[in-house]
């Protein structure tokens, strides 16, 4: 029993977290059985090797991405415009008669990513017919979904907003081609997503 107790306590003796009473017991046991020092040495060696294996990375690893997420918490131009129109960008357009006039011509799409590059930062009209790009996901978010949560979710599926929201609150999300199904499943499982469908592509701009 004492050998078993020693072996049970030894790892925590080595890592320095044993209570005083147990530590004293281990030390006495080692005095009485000097041959067990070899086991102590082995644990110490294992501990040192594990620390040698620690990845050599700077303390700032991932910090830039994290700060980008954090700054996503702050209102973007799109959110300010949304607030002006009474939250149009994250609610179905049918609630806003004035915007419905625009919706007759296909709706107005505002991009959430204020600092995004290429065509994602431009206003595009939404048309259901002709498509010109690779398959993507058409996503409807919950009305109270926050932009930061949307960004965070999209990061988790390596997604980016290609267009949206449309008159019915549709967003078009680009994801890596071979991960379309996995991304759809992941999005569907998130409580801020109301609906996900695979779309043949993003309609061309007018």
């Amino acid at each position: 029993m004492t050998q078993e107790r020693f072996e049970e306590l030894l790892p925590w003796y080595v890592n320095g977290t044993l209570e005083a009473e147990d530590r004293a017991w281990v030390e006495q046991y080692m005095k009485d059985h000097p041959e067990v020092r070899a086991e102590l040495e082995w644990f110490g060696s294992l501990q040192r090797r594990m620390h040698e294996n620690a990845p050599m990375v700077p303390a700032t690893i991932g910090l830039a991405r994290t700060m980008h997420l954090i700054r996503g918490d702050r209102p973007t131009i799109a959110e300010r415009i949304s607030a002006f129109f009474g939250g149009f960008a994250l609610r179905p357009a049918y609630a806003l008669a004035g915007v419905a006039a625009l919706a007759i011509q296909g709706g107005v799409i505002l991009n959430l990513l204020g600092d995004a590059k290429d065509d994602a930062s431009e206003i595009r009209t939404l048309r259901a017919s002709q498509v010109t790009e690779a398959p993507m996901l058409k996503v409807n978010f919950a009305p109270d979904a926050k932009e930061a949560d949307i960004r965070h979710l999209l990061m988790s599926v390596q997604g980016s907003v290609a267009g949206g929201p449309g008159q019915l609150g549709d967003y078009y999300i680009r994801v890596p081609g071979d991960q379309l199904d996995a991304a759809a499943s992941r999005l569907k499982a998130d409580p801020i997503v109301q609906a996900v469908a695979v779309a043949p592509g993003l309609p061309p701009r007018e």
Binding site: W12, T17, A38, G44, R49, N53, A54, G62
Partner: protein, 216 residues
């Protein structure tokens, strides 16, 4: 009172256990609650390596580990009040990282069956002082890493939490959501498997040299 080798291990454990004291952590978290980015950066840089090391142990992929690290630290920004101070901050952080890793990625396969380990029973050093001494002298970081990689997620995590993070048995039980007895059992089996694996590497190195560089 024990001196020499035993004290050396205790000192080593103490130095790496605390990246920042809890008072300073609480102060920074209070500022983070007021959206103080400078406070967040300071906290981030104090704990990022520790969390990243845990995640690399967990998912073995640099890109994935960084992604989950970002997720984890963003959670700190969003909910600084989530830390109640009843455990080490790093333990709380690792708990978050663990949950995110579990949600994001499937577990690796269970322990591989080392059929060949049974074959070395006659020649491999048993749990004798000489056997331990030989391993302690000869095992290298890459050999340990190789053998850790063959463990199940739970066993590998247990070893990491005890010998890298320096957590107590109660803290490990808290992170792994299991009884303390289970932690002890896991650690026992994990160390037995690592030891057997290292013995096998030693034997092969001594015999055929097939695993060049695995051991000193």
């Amino acid at each position: 009172m024990l001196q020499g080798a035993a004290l050396r291990y205790i000192d080593f454990a103490a130095t790496y256990r605390t990246a920042m004291d809890n008072d300073r952590v609480r102060e920074l978290l209070a500022r983070i609650g007021r959206e103080d980015e400078a406070a967040f950066r300071e906290l981030y840089k104090a704990f990022s390596r520790k969390v990243f090391a845990y995640l690399m142990n967990r998912v073995s992929d640099h890109g994935r580990a960084e992604e989950i690290l970002v997720d984890t630290m963003y959670e700190v920004w969003r909910r600084p009040g989530g830390y109640r101070g009843d455990a080490q901050f790093s333990t709380w952080l690792i708990g978050i990282a663990r949950n995110k890793a579990l949600m994001a990625y499937r577990s690796r396969r269970p322990d591989e069956t080392h059929d060949d380990l049974d074959d070395i029973a006659e020649t491999a050093p048993a749990d004798t002082p000489d056997g331990y001494a030989q391993l302690a002298q000869k095992q290298r970081a890459d050999g340990v890493q190789h053998c850790m990689g063959k463990l199940s997620d739970e066993h590998r995590e247990c070893l990491h939490l005890v010998f890298y993070e320096g957590l107590s048995v109660a803290e490990v039980a808290d992170v792994q959501h299991c009884p303390e007895g289970t932690v002890k059992t896991r650690l026992f089996h994990a160390r037995q498997k690592v030891k057997k694996c290292l013995e096998l590497l030693l034997q092969r190195e001594g015999g055929k040299g097939d695993l060049k560089g695995a051991l000193a």
